[in-house]
């Protein structure tokens, strides 16, 4: 614009940056100790779930037949009392009776005595076991009927114990956390995108459009959720993507209602009328004025929706409608843990604690956000 050139350029160079409501809300949120602790803890859990499986030393689907349902322990496996029975078992296969089992640090020296000469190739059974490395013959006497074998121990750590198939529970919990968080976030995102757009449009248009759009919501609402999921499973088979669709398709309804209610009150605000008087199109009003001003409650609802979705997913997985083996989710793990509560309490304890921690954190963050965004508190 030509007339703009008259303005001195220095006033344009450095406009004061304002503090938006979001910035102020962030300040208030950071003053809330419970919320900050929750954010830190949740971030830690999320990072652990994403990168943890690379560092535990166990793939999440690796089965250790020798370590089925071993309890959680900070010390390395195999334990001293596990070694002798395992060597006995291998001895039986090798056809040599183990004598003088001597555990020294990271290796075991054992003397195998057979009735006939022992085939050294059979010593590979040691390596096939989860506990030992490649056996080395130290001494061979009595025409090969007596072998002194040096076997290195394979040290393994199972901090959360193992499950009924002998898989490391720590890695599986992390994997489950990944999937639960992913479903929680993605399904919530889907629900919010649909819900906000639908609710804002319905509320802003009002009248007959609003009436029809909200009746559609009511109809979908009336579908029983579990029935809906079972139907989807029957038609499409069990599928990870299906979870998003099922959960998202149900959860956006609440969101749409909340946003519609907000929009109805925002619509009467003078700044919306001012935009109408400027000739702004409906699309622009919804995008620039209605949606940004509904986002406060939406963000709060989102933090409360994520745990809800995680719980829903757990519930579906608990029923066996959720993710499939060898993938897992917290719901699956808890379901398995519940079956093995006698004798293997760790299988229930650790996945449950993880789920509880995630849910607590999200709820505290949601509370903190609500306080931070609520203008009445100011």
């Amino acid at each position: 614009m030509a007339e703009g050139a008259a303005l001195p350029i220095e006033t344009l160079a450095d406009p004061v940056t304002g503090r938006s409501l979001w910035v102020e809300a962030r300040g208030r949120l950071l003053n809330n100790k419970a919320a900050v602790c929750s954010i830190v803890l949740l971030a830690f859990i999320a990072v652990a779930c994403i990168f943890g499986p690379f560092f535990t030393g166990h793939p999440f689907d690796q089965v250790y037949p020798d370590y089925v349902k071993v309890p959680a322990s900070l010390e390395a496996y195999p334990k001293a009392d596990q070694i002798a029975p395992q060597i006995e078992r291998i001895g039986a296969r090798v056809r040599g009776k183990p004598e003088a089992i001597d555990v020294k640090g990271d290796s075991v020296t054992v003397t195998l005595v057979g009735q006939r000469p022992i085939d050294e190739r059979l010593l590979a059974y040691f390596d096939r076991s989860d506990m030992f490395g490649v056996a080395k013959v130290v001494e061979k006497t009595d025409e090969g009927k007596r072998l002194v074998v040096d076997v290195p121990l394979k040290k393994k750590y199972f901090f959360f114990g193992t499950d009924t198939n002998g898989r490391d529970l720590l890695t599986r919990t992390m994997k489950a956390g990944q999937i639960s968080l992913a479903i929680g976030l993605l399904a919530t995102l889907v629900a919010i995108l649909i819900g906000v757009a639908y609710g804002a449009t319905s509320g802003y248009l009002g009248g007959r459009a609003d009436l029809i759009m909200m009746r559609v919501v009511d109809v979908i609402y009336s579908l029983p959720f579990i029935f809906f999921v079972i139907m989807l499973v029957v038609f499409f088979g069990r599928n990870f993507i299906l979870m998003f669709i099922a959960v998202g398709a149900v959860e956006w309804l609440d969101m749409a209602r909340i946003v519609r209610g907000q929009t109805l009150s925002i619509k009467r605000q003078e700044y919306v009328q001012a935009a109408e008087a400027l000739g702004v199109e409906t699309k622009g009003i919804i995008r620039r004025h209605v949606i940004p001003n509904t986002l406060g409650p939406v963000v709060v609802y989102m933090t409360l929706l994520v745990p809800k979705v995680i719980l829903l997913e757990s519930f579906l997985s608990f029923l066996g409608l959720g993710v499939q083996e060898p993938n897992t989710s917290l719901g699956v793990l808890i379901s398995e843990g519940a079956k093995n509560i006698q004798g293997a309490t760790w299988m229930l304890l650790y996945p449950s604690l993880t789920l509880i921690a995630i849910l607590f954190c999200l709820n505290f963050i949601g509370d903190g956000l609500r306080d931070a965004l609520d203008p009445k508190d100011r």
Binding site: M1, E3, G4, L7, T11, L12, D14, P15, V16, T17, G18, R19, S20, L21, W22, E24, G27, R28, N31, Q269, E270, Y271, Q273, A274, A275, E276, A277, L278, G279, V280, E281, G284, R288, H289, P292, N293, L295, R378
Partner: protein, 545 residues
């Protein structure tokens, strides 16, 4: 001096906020003697309300008071709520600004009136009801026997404020604190409520503490006045002395803040910008089973309005007179019948999309500078939103430049354009709203009570600004207001509206000097309280609003 009923010494009020501690009241001293009216005057944010809130122990939870407040020698600061309740509600009572929200909508007014009587006065239910009727009579509610069983929504704003006063009077208080009791009311109702308060004081002999920003009220009712600025008392003394010889420049500024001056007459040969004939807006309040309206409110009933370039037409009337609806109808923001022409185009057949290109010439400024700016956009974005619609091709950088320019035009610091609305004061926000209208270089601006929510001194600045903008751009204004002082300073022509109809119209000076209708005379009398003393008091029968 008589012995003081209420003594405030070195009172400090602080609030803990997100940005640290806000010192709202800074060590003020104040005395209220028996039977006198004390006014506390100041602009918004001066701490006048917070002073009295702390006396009543009603501070928000993040605020606290230090210092001394003594009621008849009894210290009130630091008392527990239970002990404080011995005084507040019975000996110290308060009425608030907003009569619409300070009554509980779920209870009949009789029940609400009886509550302080049964809890503080120890009356039985039957006695309390009898006393409640007496009180309603005292505050001149017509037909109190019947009205006592009304719900708050069945009463008008003025009547509700009377009920609030009746509640405050229930236990014969020593001190009645009135926090802007008439600000939310129409001018004519305002005058009657003030008369009622003055009369009650004479009869009951209590002290009144009047918190207000309106110097007209102070001058008429107060014996002594405290002027507050930013939490401090800058001047105090008898009202006469303060008005006759204000010592502090702030006081002088407040007294001089009445909008003055007149608009230069518009050239009579200017082309007609807006010509509306026989505009009708009606709302269906009730319709029968088949959607046929059976109860219709004619909000605007056959009003004609024409404005030339550079001319201002003032539309005056009480709330509910249809003046705002008329403003929206001529901009086609409100479905209406009749004929509206803008320059040479008939607007009535145009739909929403058809109106869009014309919107840039027809602008609107709202009353509430807090509600009319979207809180999540920066001031610059708000101001340039119209450009997105009407000049979509200009770049972001050009828009920014235009925003800076518009800020300068309304005398705001252009560097502030990236701030958010909540970081501006009320007057500055109203300037942003004006900038938003002006950036499109409109031909007609409808100003819907643009100064009503602002302090007097700010009002004056906005009036000056509007006058200058009009002169610079040859704008046509439709100025809607209930405030006749502002209308007088801005308008060439005035229309007085009542119940959707124009009762009187004519050149501004003629209306003010020779009002033909009683209604107009009432409005003028109520608006200029000080000139009113010469007039005879209204007959008692007409006092009930």
């Amino acid at each position: 001096m008589a012995d003081p009923v209420l003594t405030v010494r070195n009172l400090n009020v602080r609030f803990r906020t997100g940005d640290g501690i806000l010192h709202a009241v800074k060590g003020i001293d104040l005395d209220v003697n028996a039977g006198e009216t004390v006014a506390i005057v100041g602009e918004s944010g001066s701490g006048k309300s917070q002073t009295m809130m702390s006396v009543m122990g009603l501070l928000a939870s993040n605020g606290w008071a230090e210092g001394s407040v003594k009621y008849r020698g009894e210290e009130l600061v630091g008392l527990s709520p239970e002990k404080l309740n011995r005084y507040r509600g019975s000996k110290l009572t308060m009425i608030f600004q907003e009569p619409m929200t300070s009554l509980d909508p779920l209870y009949r007014i009789g029940e609400q009136l009886a509550l302080p009587l049964t809890t503080h006065g120890g009356l039985s239910k039957v006695e309390a009801r009898r006393r409640a009727i007496e009180l309603l009579e005292l505050v001149r509610i017509p037909d109190p026997q019947r009205r006592i069983d009304s719900y708050p929504h069945e009463m008008s704003g003025g009547q509700r404020q009377r009920v609030m006063i009746a509640m405050a009077l229930a236990n014969n208080p020593d001190v009645l604190i009135a926090d802007e009791p008439t600000t939310a009311l129409d001018v004519t109702v305002q005058a009657r409520i003030l008369e009622l308060l003055a009369d009650l004081q004479k009869r009951l002999g209590m002290s009144i503490v009047f918190i207000t920003h309106d110097l007209g009220i102070v001058r008429r009712f107060a014996d002594r006045t405290y002027v507050m600025k930013r939490g401090e008392v800058v001047e105090s003394g008898t009202t006469e002395d303060i008005f006759a010889a204000p010592k502090h420049p702030y006081t002088r500024m407040l007294i001089d803040a009445e909008p003055t001056g007149h608009k230069e007459p518009a050239p009579t040969n200017a082309p007609l910008v807006l010509d509306a004939r026989d505009v009708k807006v009606s709302f269906v309040l009730k319709s029968n089973l088949f959607g046929k309206p059976i109860h219709v409110l004619n909000a605007v009933d056959g009003v004609s309005l024409s404005v030339r370039g550079g001319e201002t037409v003032g539309v005056v009337g009480e709330s509910g007179s249809g003046k705002s609806t008329l403003g929206r109808a001529v901009l086609r923001l409100q479905p209406a019948s009749g004929m509206v022409r803008f320059e040479d185009r008939n607007l009535m057949p145009l739909d929403r999309a058809g109106m869009r290109p014309l919107r840039r010439h027809l602008q609107l400024v709202f009353q509430d500078p807090f509600g009319s700016l979207s809180p999540r956009m920066t001031a610059g974005e708000i101001v340039t939103e119209g450009l997105l619609v009407h000049e979509p091709r200009i770049s972001r950088k050009d828009r920014d430049r235009r925003a800076a320019q518009a800020f300068e035009e309304v005398r705001l610091e252009p560097a502030w354009r990236n701030r958010f609305p909540h970081e501006f004061s009320g007057g500055q926000r109203q300037r942003i709203a004006i900038a938003r209208a002006m950036i499109l270089h409109p031909k007609l601006v409808v100003l819907d009570e643009p100064t009503s929510a602002l302090d007097r001194s700010v009002q004056k600045e906005i009036v000056d600004l509007l006058r200058d903008l009009q002169k610079a751009h040859g704008l046509a204004y439709v100025f809607i207001s209930h405030d006749l002082a502002v209308v007088r300073a801005l308008s060439d022509e005035i229309m007085v509206m009542k119940s959707g109809k124009v009762v009187e119209r004519g050149p501004a000076e003629a209306i003010f000097e020779r009002p033909q209708e009683d209604y107009t005379r009432d409005l003028i009398a109520a608006a200029f309280l000080k000139e009113r003393e010469a007039q005879t008091a209204l007959p008692a029968a007409s006092l009930a609003s």
